[in-house]
Structures are given as structure tokens and as C-alpha cells.
């Protein structure tokens, strides 16, 4: 791994340890690892369909630019880079970015990771063929303003994938009581149930932001197989949407 003379080696060791933690499928981020194949599968299918790519090809996203907002340790960014895309990953949490960089270097993947936000990228005038906006919108103070910024980052003909958690008694039981209090998959206080958003509300906000919503599906947890799958009908807890910006004629 490359490291500049200015980098404190104790800091690097700390970030390496955090990178190991992020990428340990049975560690602290186990819930994300469990959900990851399911949400990746959805994102890959939608992006491939929107851009006319063959998802069975080895590097179907060659030539596409993809932004991962709230990239964390790079659980979505690395797969997109492996599929051939030019990937930018942003996270406002300063310690996530060196962690993501260390892991990408280990995997010999070239990913542009930055400490930044959707709003800052809009100000810099950047735009992308696909924007991944996964499990973020339920954490921001002003969802409409946030979605307006995300939407401005989507190129004409591009697509945004946005996933979040529904607001209803079941999602309270599953995401707050189940995931935080009983299973302890997530630290207490990770989610505020009042900030959860229904699929109709999300579609409405995305529409107002200037994109056209085209698809929504559920992510359904099966406790028997201990795995997630994409569900056509069950959007009662975790769900995902796809929205596109029409190409300019």
C-alpha cells in the first residue's frame, strides 16, 4: 500500500483495523454484508437496463461513471469498479474515506474516494451516469433538499437507485425493536422511526426533484435461509426505487 511521508503510521494502522472491520462479513457490519448481494443485484440490473448493457458480460459498466453516496468502507463502490465503472465514492464521515481507500488499494481497484456530500458535488458541477443513494435518505434532516441535490447529479439518460425503510408499525418492530434492540445488529439510535419514509412519499419527493420514478421493489428478509431477497410486492420494511432523468432529445 502506498503511503505518503505525511501520513502518521499509527493512524494508518488504526484505519487498517477499521477496514478489516468493515469488510468482515461476520463483524460489526454483518447486516450490511447480508443485505449487500440483494441490493447489488437490484442496482446492477437497473443500471444495465437503463444503459443497455449486458449484465452477463464480464465488465458491463465499462465507460460508465457511478457515484456512491455515503460509501462507508466501499461495500457498493468496489463491486461497481469490478464491473468496469469509473467510481466516485463520497462520505461525510472523515474516517470512512481512508478506510475505503486502504481496502480498494488492497483489492487493486482504482476508486475516487472523497470526504464530501451530494450538495458539495452539485456545487462543483459534477454529474454521473448512475447515482447510488442507498440507506442514506432516512438519516438526513431535510430529505427533499437532499434528494434535490442527488437528482441534480444524475446525467440526462442516467439513473438513481435509492433505498430506505418504510414507515409503519411493522417497520418499527423490524428495524428498531428487532434490528437494534433484540438482535443488536445495529447500534441503538441508528434509526429514528419518525424519519422513515413510505414508498409513495419517496416517489413523490423524487418526482419533485426532477427525476422520473420507474420502479420500486422490496428487500425481504427470510429468517429461515437467513438471507435477503428482492420482492415484487412486499415493500413493508426495506425497499428500493429506481428513477431516471430523461435523455435530452
Amino acid at each position: 500500500m502506498a503511503q505518503g511521508a505525511s501520513v502518521d503510521s499509527a493512524e494508518v494502522a488504526k484505519f487498517e483495523a477499521i477496514a478489516d472491520e468493515w469488510w468482515d462479513p461476520n463483524g460489526k457490519f454483518r447486516p450490511l454484508h447480508m443485505l449487500n448481494p440483494c441490493r447489488l443485484g437490484y442496482a446492477v440490473d437497473q443500471i444495465a437496463a437503463q444503459h443497455g448493457r449486458d449484465p452477463a458480460a464480464r465488465r458491463p459498466f465499462e465507460g460508465l461513471s457511478i457515484l456512491d453516496i455515503g460509501c462507508g468502507g466501499g461495500l457498493l463502490a468496489e463491486p461497481m469498479a469490478r464491473l468496469g465503472a469509473r467510481v466516485t465514492g463520497v462520505d461525510p464521515a472523515e474516517r470512512n474515506i481512508p478506510v475505503a481507500r486502504i481496502h480498494a488499494a488492497r483489492m487493486e481497484l482504482d476508486i475516487d474516494y472523497r470526504v464530501s456530500t451530494a450538495e458539495a458535488l452539485v456545487e462543483a458541477g459534477e454529474s454521473f451516469d448512475a447515482v447510488l443513494n442507498m440507506e442514506v435518505v432516512e438519516h438526513v434532516p431535510d430529505p427533499q433538499a437532499y434528494l434535490d441535490a442527488c437528482s441534480a447529479l444524475v446525467k440526462p439518460g442516467g439513473i438513481m437507485i435509492c433505498s430506505t425503510i418504510n414507515r409503519n408499525p411493522k417497520s418499527y418492530m423490524m428495524a428498531i425493536v428487532g434490528a437494534e434492540q433484540v438482535m443488536r445488529w445495529l447500534p441503538r439510535g441508528t434509526h429514528d422511526w419518525r424519519k422513515f419514509i413510505t414508498p409513495d412519499e419517496l416517489f413523490d419527493m423524487i418526482g419533485k426533484s426532477g427525476l422520473t420514478p420507474v420502479d420500486r421493489k422490496g428487500f425481504q428478509f427470510n429468517p429461515l435461509t437467513w438471507s435477503w431477497r428482492v420482492s415484487e410486492r412486499d415493500l413493508s420494511v426495506n425497499y428500493v426505487t429506481a428513477a431516471v432523468r430523461p435523455a435530452v432529445a
Binding site: P25, L40, R58, E78, R82, R106
Partner: protein, 411 residues
């Protein structure tokens, strides 16, 4: 290969017998570059003479070979199994309880075929030669392995090395690559030795496979095309050594005494083989950047001819897991990806291995109580349609959550 003698591939497979090539072809058909490493040069493995060894190819396995484009050429060389007769016997005595499986009772209308080893081996090796995405490295010995970083690194004895995102150990029941990764295995000895050879006979077999359980172990007569059959039997090791040392004429008499007059006069065909039998189970099928498949994962008793079929189930499950992970952009060597394969296969393979072990122990015994129990069991299984059909679905490889290739669908 670059100047440093490093060969790069998406997947590196140790073992070029049957399971390694079948997996290599499955992955190459989905666009993966595969390196296959074997200790023996290809012409040695492709020995064209009939050597007496054959496999029971389950319907599911035939479907996988069909997806690989091989079954069309193999089917005319294979003998369909039209009927299965299971009995217990003692040399020179009348057959005891008899259990009859009619393959027409399965929805597919058949359970499988008997296919000579040489034909299957040759078809797989020729298909690998014709596949530009497969690179064969043989003869070559894997001397060391490292599994950290973005690729597994296998060092070969000749100084070269092979690097791939995923390494697969398909190198048999003593898997050197599995051992190099520190994967331990359970070995259960039987004090039994398997004898394998083929015979020609005067009377037709009508496509009937016979399995008789003698006190020394099971004795299977599997129909080959024409008036030939493949014999797979096991005896306690001391008795097997005595039999294996007999001259051909006396050995033939021993066989004739076990088969009875059903097939008329018999003569030996091909070579005589003896294998010490044991059951070996790897403690894990998956580790970072390494998966175990076939006998390297589970070396079973050849009692029901399921070793090769179980290996092809591994192939279908592993290929599907890896291809789907790669299409999502996942790291195909990551432990959580490979654990999906392990979850899919391990329960099934262990249940099958222990089931065959129990069957063998139950039947390789002259204890009158056990004899009573198994006579009752055979009679019950024979009388109860669903149990019999369940047994046949298992034998045909159609039970359980089937990988796509076993259903005849490409990845």
C-alpha cells in the same frame, strides 16, 4: 504468462480428473478465464483403452453434461438403467428380500445411465482443449499456496506460480491444496476394500442394475452397452486382498458364484482395480479464496455410485454461486461468497455420505437382528410408494434445492 513465470486467471483449479474439468468448463462457458493444474500430463489422463471403470450417471448429472454440450456425444455410449434390483445375498444361497425400483415411477421416467470412465474423461479433456478460456497446466505439482490479498497464489514445483481471485481444490480425497489451507478432514475407516472390474457375459442384462448386499459388503452389477457389465463390490480388506491376488480364472469363479446363472457364462474385461475404502469429510468447503469440490470435500463409499454425481452437484452449485457473485461485482474469492456454496452443499453432501455409510454398515453385517431390521426396512421401502420414489429421486439427483445446471439450464 508474464516474464516472472506468473500465470493469471480468474479461477485456478487444482485437479484435472473429472470434477476439475467439469467446473472449468462450466465457468469458461460463462466467460471466466480458468487455469487447470494437474500432476499428470493430459495424454496419461485420456488413456483410450477400456480399463473396467464406470460411473452411474444420475439424470441431474446428465443434464449438467448437456448444458456443457457433452451429453449429446456421450449418451449413445452410455447404457440406460431400465430397472434397479436390490437384494441381500450370501454366496451360493438364494437371494433374500428383494427390492425393486422401476425408474418409470420418477417423473423423468429414468434414474440414470452407466458410462465408462474413459468416455467421460475423454469428453471432458477434449472439451477443455477446445475451450480458449481454459489454460491447462500439466504435468505440474502445486507446492505451496497463499490466500491473503486480492488473489490466491499457487506456487508450482517448476518455479512458476498461478494467481487467481479464487482457487478450487478438486484434487481428490487427500486434497493437498485443502491441507495447504489448513482445512482438516475427518476420516472414517471401514476395513473394507473396493474391487472394481468389468465382465462380458453370454446373456443380455436388459438394462437392469443389481445391487446385492453380502456379509462382506455390497456387490453391484451395473449394465454397460452390449453384453458387458461393470462390477463394483467391497469386501473386508483381508478377503479383498486374497481375491485381488487370485489369478483371473479363479477370480472369475468368485464373481460367478456371486452373480449366479442370470447372465450365463462370464469372462473378465479390462483391468482389475482395488481401492481401500474410507469416508473422508472436509471440516469446511470454503475458506478465504479457496473452495473444495468433489472428493476433496467429501470422499464417499462407492456403494451407490454417488461420488461422481455428488461432485457434479458441487460443480453446479459452485459455478452458479461464483457466476452470480461476479455479475453483481462481488469478489468471487470472498469468504461470504464462498460460504453460500458451503451452505448449499454441505448439509446435502454430509447427509448423503452418512446415509451411505449407515447403509453400508447395516448391510455389511451378518448379525441376525440387523438382518431382521434391514429385511423389514427393505420390505417397507418396497411397499411404500412415496418412500421408494423418494429414494429414486435421490438416486436420480433430483431431490433438494437444485442448482440451475442440474435442471439443464445454462448459467
Amino acid at each position: 504468462m508474464n516474464g516472472n513465470g506468473i500465470i493469471r486467471a480468474d479461477v485456478a483449479i487444482a485437479g484435472g480428473g473429472l470434477i476439475g474439468p467439469a467446473l472449468a468448463l462450466s465457468l469458461a462457458r460463462a466467460g471466466f478465464e480458468v487455469a487447470v493444474i494437474d500432476r499428470l500430463a493430459e495424454p496419461v489422463r485420456a488413456d483410450p483403452d477400456f480399463d473396467g471403470r464406470a460411473y452411474a450417471v444420475a439424470l441431474a448429472s446428465a443434464q449438467l453434461l448437456g448444458v456443457l454440450g457433452l451429453w449429446r456425444g456421450l449418451e449413445p455410449l452410455a447404457q440406460p438403467i431400465r430397472d434397479i434390483m436390490v437384494s441381500e445375498g450370501a454366496a451360493g444361497s438364494r437371494p433374500g428380500a428383494m427390492l425393486h425400483f422401476d425408474p418409470r415411477e420418477t417423473e423423468a421416467g429414468r434414474v440414470g445411465w452407466i458410462l465408462e470412465d474413459r468416455f467421460l474423461r475423454r469428453a471432458l479433456l477434449e472439451a477443455m482443449d477446445a475451450e480458449p478460456l481454459i489454460r491447462q497446466i500439466a504435468p505440474a505439482e502445486v507446492e505451496g499456496a497463499a490466500f491473503d490479498g486480492p488473489r490466491a497464489r499457487l506456487s508450482l514445483a517448476d518455479g512458476r506460480s498461478v494467481e487467481a481471485g479464487l482457487a478450487v481444490a478438486a484434487d481428490g480425497r487427500r486434497s493437498a491444496l485443502g491441507a495447504a489451507a489448513g482445512i482438516r478432514r475427518q476420516v472414517f475407516g471401514y476395513d473394507q476394500t473396493g474391487l472394481v472390474n468389468a465382465i462380458e457375459h453370454d446373456l443380455p442384462h436388459d438394462g437392469v442394475a443389481y445391487q446385492s448386499f453380502f456379509p462382506g459388503g455390497p456387490f453391484a452389477v451395473l449394465p454397460l452397452p452390449g453384453n458387458r457389465s461393470s462390477l463394483v463390490w467391497s469386501e473386508r480388506t483381508a478377503e479383498a486382498r486374497r481375491l485381488h491376488a487370485l489369478p483371473d480364472d479363479l477370480f472369475t469363479e468368485e464373481i460367478a458364484a456371486r452373480i449366479g446363472p442370470r447372465l450365463g457364462g462370464i469372462r473378465l474385461a479390462g483391468r482389475r482395480w482395488a481401492y481401500p475404502l474410507d469416508l473422508t469429510l472436509a471440516e469446511r468447503y470454503a475458506a478465504p479464496r479457496l473452495a473444495l469440490a468433489g472428493d476433496a470435500a467429501h470422499g464417499v463409499h462407492p456403494i451407490a455410485g454417488q461420488g461422481m454425481n455428488m461432485g457434479l452437484r458441487d460443480v453446479a452449485a459452485l459455478a452458479e454461486v461464483v457466476v452470480e457473485a461476479a455479475r453483481r461485482g462481488e469478489d468471487i474469492g470472498a469468504l461470504d461468497v464462498l460460504e453460500r456454496y458451503q451452505r448449499w452443499r454441505r448439509f446435502d453432501a454430509t447427509a448423503m455420505a452418512l446415509g451411505m455409510d449407515a447403509l453400508n454398515r447395516l448391510f455389511s453385517n451378518a448379525n441376525p437382528v440387523l438382518r431382521g431390521v434391514r429385511d423389514l426396512g427393505l420390505a417397507l421401502v418396497g411397499r411404500i410408494g412415496p418412500a421408494r420414489r423418494g429414494f429414486m429421486r435421490e438416486a436420480a439427483g433430483l431431490a433438494g434445492d437444485l442448482p440451475r445446471m442440474l435442471r439443464g439450464q445454462p448459467l
